[in-house]
Structure formats: structure tokens, C-alpha cells
Symmetry: C2
Subunit: 430 residues, 2 copies
């Protein structure tokens, strides 16, 4: 029987998922590859003695070069994560003639271009479907299935941890700190949750999606990022009054030939297809100039779901190796040079929540301050508080970020305004 040999870098949840899936659907893969067997022949781990169900001990190694320098291995799957080791191993694997599959969003969002171009140079495929959205085949969908379109907007719930937390805050009225603890206990959030709750994880993923959607390399450092740490239970209550929810969204769009790309918690009307995507589900909403809009909802993490993406990439590569059709490799589709707009020049709807002195003309003073900065108001909720105070929540029309900021400064300095409690973005048009 013909064999295609695979080296696996890393053997955590995802690595074990890949191993398991190759066994689970072995027959189907054999049929698809006309009898060629996919065989994992070596697995890099950092602890030989850790218990890994069903994985033969003799496949394990502590030395990455047992894989990288192994001449029998055609394809290397990298599921270590992080940028330090993974980058070196991938680069050396390509140079040693291996095709690459990686789930590494950190690496792809920072060094993606180098790696893809190195792959081109050595005529080696580099595929990374698993780096965004877990089991949702969002990269193939944008890159292949919707290739006939100019993609104009990508908007996604692409971090399961924060979506789980926000869902709990909305359904159970609990505080962020409280639900974070539960997320950690359930293993959805890391002991150090910074990368998730500060929006960095989502930022890496939206950088990757923006690059593919707009054919222009977008890096992590190009993404404006705000996390969810400032969301309070009061914001949750007001969002509900506005028939909305709050989701941490990665947003990338193209307008007037310039790219905008950002991550922030967003007030989202309940009628939006992303608004009902709850718990650890991920989802991506796309707009394009032919298909109109398309929404994909699925599992954003987990061993088998992520392995689903990795093995799909693996089968694609294996088929091409089998047919001898890997001739000229074009890993990277970023051929355009478009401007990336500064956040100040982008526009959005905004939600302002503030505590004010409860007396006449307060609202008019605030409205004047908004108007002075070209910020027009869409709707207002005012609520009496004890001790002669009131809470004021204002939704604005679509305004420039810099105008919102200058309005905020002016309002902060009004003597009737005691505290601006929160300013959130809001999406209204779709």
C-alpha cells in the first residue's frame, strides 16, 4: 500500500484530535486518495511521559529535527502554537522539502507573509484553515468558494472564550469577573486570560481574514484592538433595552479603496445573524459584491473540530501530491497595496453611558456638545438615580471616531457630567 508520511509538531488537544480523526475516518480517506494511506510517523512532544490516549509511545520524540530532517516525511502539521519555536520549525521544514499545515494564528498574523513566500520559493504548500474559526472553513470559503466576489466586509465572533463570557453575562446577569472564573474552571479560558479578554486572539484572526478577503497583507499590528474588560452589567441591561446584545467582534471592511480593521465589543441588534450566536460558538458574517451576505456558524475550538480543518487541508495537499499537480505554488494572494485607515478616520455608531446631575438643561448641554463635534444622536434613555443624579444612555448615528473622541472630551469637561461610564461601538447597518 502507498503511504504518505506525516510529522506532527505538538500533541495537545488539537494534535491528539488530528491523530484520532485520521483513525476515525481512515476508510473514507483511503477511498479519496485511491488507496494511499495517511500515516503519522513522528510526533514532537515536550514531555514523553504525559498520558496521551491511543497514541503509540514509539511515535513520540523530543527532537523536532527527527521530523524536520526525516526524508520520508512529506507533510508537517504544526500545532504547537506561539511564535518562537513554531516559526523556526516551519521554516526549517519548508527548507527541508515539507508541505506545511498550521493552526498557528499568532504566527500567521505576524510572520504570515514570510512563511507563505518561503513556501512559494520552495514550491511547498502552506495551509492554515485551522488558524481561524476552528471547524468553520472560513479561509477556504473566502479564498476559494467566494473567489468570484469582491469581499467588502468581514465581521466575526472569532473568540469562543469571550463569547461564552458575554453569553453568560446576558443570560444570567452575572459580572465579567464572575463569568471569567467559570470560564477558567471549565477550561475555556486560560489561567492568564489576557489574550482572549483583551481582544488579542480575535485581532490575530481578523488580521488573517482581512488579508485573504482584501488581497492585501494585514498584520496584527495593523488591527485596532479593545477587549471586553470594561463591559459592566449595566451595559448589559441597557443593551437589552435597545433590543441588542454585546459581542466581541472582529471587523474588517473596505471602503473608498481603504481597509479598516478592528476588534472591539459591539452593540449588535438582536435581528443581526451574529446576535444569536452564543456560548463557545464562533461565526463569521461576510458581505460581497455578488453573493450579498453569507453567515457561517460553527464550533470555534476543540480537538476534533480543529482537526476537521487540519485534515481537510491535509487531504487537499495529499491529493495534489498524488496527482503531481503541485507545480507553481501561490500560497499568498496578497497582491494589492491598499491603505489601512487609522482608527480615528473610521466611523461607527456609538453608545455612550454617563452619570449626570439630574437637573433641567443637562440633556441640552450634552446634546450641544455632541452637535459641536458633528455627532448626531439616534436615541436616548434617561434614568433617575438616587442623590440627585441621573444615568443617560445615548446612541449616536454613524460618526467619525475622531469626532466621537472630541465630543467625549468636551462632555467630560461639562460640570453637569459626573462620569462617563462607558463608550461602546454599535453596528446598525446590514
Amino acid at each position: 500500500m502507498k503511504k504518505m508520511k506525516i510529522g506532527l509538531l505538538g500533541c495537545g488537544t488539537v494534535g491528539q484530535g488530528v491523530y484520532k480523526l485520521l483513525k476515525l475516518n481512515e476508510k473514507k480517506y483511503l477511498a479519496l486518495l485511491d488507496g494511499t494511506e495517511l500515516e503519522i510517523v513522528k510526533i514532537l512532544v515536550n514531555d514523553l511521559e504525559k498520558v496521551r490516549e491511543d497514541i503509540p509511545y514509539n511515535l513520540l520524540t523530543l527532537n523536532p529535527y527527527d521530523i524536520i530532517h526525516n526524508k520520508d516525511i512529506d507533510i508537517v502539521i504544526e500545532v504547537i502554537g506561539g511564535t518562537t519555536d513554531a516559526e523556526e520549525y516551519i521554516i526549517e521544514s519548508i527548507k527541508n522539502g515539507k508541505h506545511i499545515i498550521t493552526a498557528n494564528k499568532d504566527l500567521m498574523a505576524t510572520k504570515g507573509q514570510n512563511i507563505l513566500e518561503l513556501g512559494n520559493e520552495y514550491a511547498k504548500l502552506v495551509k492554515y484553515e485551522a488558524s481561524v474559526g476552528g471547524a468553520i472553513p472560513i479561509i477556504s470559503t473566502i479564498k476559494d468558494n467566494l473567489v468570484s466576489n469582491q469581499i467588502t466586509k468581514v465581521m466575526g465572533i472569532i473568540n469562543g472564550t469571550t463569547n461564552f463570557m458575554l453569553t453568560k453575562m446576558f443570560s444570567e446577569g452575572r459580572s465579567l469577573e464572575n463569568v471569567l472564573k467559570e470560564a477558567q474552571e471549565l477550561g475555556y479560558a486560560e489561567a492568564d486570560p489576557t489574550s482572549d479578554i483583551e481582544g488579542l486572539d480575535a485581532a490575530r484572526k481578523i488580521a488573517i481574514l482581512a488579508s485573504i478577503a482584501f488581497n492585501r497583507r494585514v498584520k496584527l499590528s495593523d488591527v485596532y484592538v479593545e477587549g471586553i474588560t470594561k463591559i459592566s452589567i449595566d451595559d448589559v441591561k441597557y443593551a437589552k433595552q435597545f433590543k441588542s446584545t454585546i459581542k466581541l467582534l472582529g471587523i474588517a471592511l473596505i471602503k473608498d479603496n481603504a481597509i479598516e480593521v478592528r476588534v472591539y465589543p459591539t452593540l449588535l441588534s438582536l435581528s443581526h445573524p451574529l446576535a444569536k450566536v452564543d456560548d463557545v460558538y464562533n461565526a463569521v458574517y461576510l458581505e460581497g459584491n455578488a453573493f450579498g451576505n453569507l453567515t457561517l456558524i460553527g464550533k470555534g475550538a476543540g480537538g476534533l473540530p480543529t482537526a476537521s480543518a487540519i485534515v481537510a487541508d491535509l487531504l487537499t495537499i495529499a491529493k495534489k501530491i498524488n496527482k503531481g499537480t503541485i507545480i507553481e505554488v501561490e500560497n499568498c494572494s496578497c497582491y494589492l497595496d491598499l491603505e489601512i485607515k487609522k482608527i480615528e478616520e473610521t466611523s461607527s455608531h456609538y453608545y455612550f453611558r454617563m452619570v449626570v446631575v439630574d437637573k433641567t438643561r443637562v440633556l441640552s448641554k450634552i446634546a450641544d456638545a455632541f452637535a459641536d463635534n458633528n455627532v448626531s444622536i439616534d436615541s436616548v434613555i434617561q434614568k433617575k438615580l438616587p442623590e440627585g443624579k441621573a444615568e443617560l444612555v445615548i446612541l449616536t448615528d454613524r460618526v467619525l471616531n475622531k469626532n466621537m473622541k472630541s465630543a467625549k472630551e468636551q462632555i467630560e469637561n461639562l460640570d453637569v457630567v459626573l462620569e462617563i461610564k462607558s463608550v461602546l461601538n454599535s453596528e446598525k447597518e446590514y
Copy 2:
């Protein structure tokens, strides 16, 4: 400049959409194809004088063989629909060395296998993404993106006309006849709406999706079909009481190594991802053994949305021609021979609505009749009607179709039962 020449069979909404899209995104396609231009050189119409915006008159022809026998044409796009002419033209086009892209669900659901195999024989690609779900790339998603999975279930809202009608019935409380008239006025329903409202259109599409999902050819004649014509406004009211909606679903699943495939109106809990897919939107919910579940929601019809699918297929073929990688063609992935279950042997939850005599022991007699046939009851709503009658609505647990039928027969013969008003399937597990 290098050119790839295309013949277009048909020039209705979709054909014009394809022509328009090739102009709209011309620059992107040139870049993708390294400068090769996609040019429609001939268009088959049945009336030369009909007004078609922006399409040059000199491209039109009444003779299909101006395309089929044109040696310059590499790719033929068929958007005529129906089976008679389209089949002949596609077969002759393949025999004359052309790759095929078709949006023809009628043909693919009945003669799909022949056409795909003929393509294999002549080493010509046959692609048909546009035949199901309009702009939703559901065929590529199942066939390519999720190829790493055993697909276990496909459940879709794949007929926009009936989804528009059911949405209106739910949101505005109007009757089926009334909303059908509006759908016809808006051009969503044909003058003869049989194919849509009797479920045939959806049946063709689920046959195509089942074939791809389960690697086993499923034809239109294998699909059990019920349309929406019996849905009354009373069913709508009760569905709402059960926190559910009613959708015309195409359902295909694999259980115990046998395939089940059917189309019928289905009571669907509002928490299901398909329940909120309204108006003319289409959506497909998939389950697989690695990804878990995935839902795609998008536009199911229209010129540009359907052209989005066609031109994606076109770019795939054009790329392969350019690179010379069309060697061994495998259009068809149906290599398994699985049993297709008779509807009687399948199981479902059911919704029974009946008018009964309003006196004691009626419910117990009916419950006994269900129990006699191994049908267990999940929940009951009873409502008093005038003239000593009552309406009884019963949801069952999951039971065999044949048991439901025998229970229905027995209940119909009870003297306390005046009329069984409707029996609908219901989906509860996901």
C-alpha cells in the same frame, strides 16, 4: 492578452448576472488568472429581440450548435434550466471538448450521474455549485472544505419561495393562499407554483446534497416529498405556542449505514439555527463526525448571487486549464452503495392537530390509541371550541413513521374524533 472563451446557454436573470459579474470584477479575475481574460463569446437565447441590458446583440444566437461546435470555446455555462434541451446541450458540449458549469438542479437530481461520468470519460470538469442554495457555497463546503468528515446530517431551507410564504404566514398571520398571491406578484413564485409549494424544487436540491454528503447517488425519485399546501393559520398559531416555527426542510441523514432523505414542512424549535432564517434566505445546517455542526445562511436566488456560485466554478476551471492540471477527472464522488430507507421505516417527532368531542375520557381514548401503536406523547394542548367540540394538539416523542400512520388510522376511527386536521413532522434533537 490570453483569452479563455466561454459559451453561455441561456440569458435570463442568472445568465445576465454571469455576464454582469464578469465585467464587475474583471480586474480581480485577471489578477487571479495571471492576465488570462474570461470572455463570453456566444450566448444562446430563444428570442433575439428581448431587451437585455448591456449585453451586445452580436453575441446572441438562436442556435445552440454555434456554441457546442465552436472550437474556440473552452467552457460552457448552462443556465437554461429544465431537462429536455439542457441535457442534450450539455452532453454534446462535453463530447465536443468543453468543460461544463450548470445551475440545473432538475437535471443534476435526475441525470446527474450520467453527466458526471460522461465528464470523467472525456476528462472534462462538470461543476454545479449554483444548482443548490444560490450564493451559499454548500456543494464546495461539503465536498471540499468538510471532506475530512463523515457527514451525518444535512438539513436545509433550500426553497426561497416557500420560506418567504411561511415567514409571512408567521409574521403577519395571513393564509397560505393570500401570501402565495403576494409571492407571485413579487416574482418570487411562478404562475404555476407547484414545483415550489409541493416541495419538488427542495427535493431536487436535497437529492444533490445527499449524494455529495454521503458519497452515494441519491435521485429525485429516492426522496420522500410533502409540500406546504396543507399548512393552515391554525398550525401557525399552535407552532408559536410550542415556541416553534414551521419550515419546509430538506433533510438527509445517515443512520445505521442507511440513508434517509425527505422534504416536508417541519415544526422547528425557535432555538434551532434554521428557525430564524426568514424571507427568501436559504440556509443549510450540517452535522459531521469531526466539525460537530455548521450552519450556512445566505441568498438562495437572484442574478448576482447565483452568478457568484457559477463564476467561482468558472475560476476554478480556468485556473486548472491555465496550469494544465486537469489530468484525471473525478466529477462524481459517489463510490458507496448504501441502502435508502423507505419513509415508513424512518422516525421523527410528530405534531397532531384534531377536532374532538369535548367530553370526559376523550383524551384517554386518544392516548390509548397512540400507546397501542407505540407512539409516546411529549406534550398536549387542548382548547375548547364552540358547539361542544375541542381542539387537541399533541406532540409525540420520536417514533417510527409507520407507527405514526397506524396510530393515525386508529384515531381517525374513534367515534370521539371528528377530524384530524393536520399531522406535521417535528425536529427536536440537535
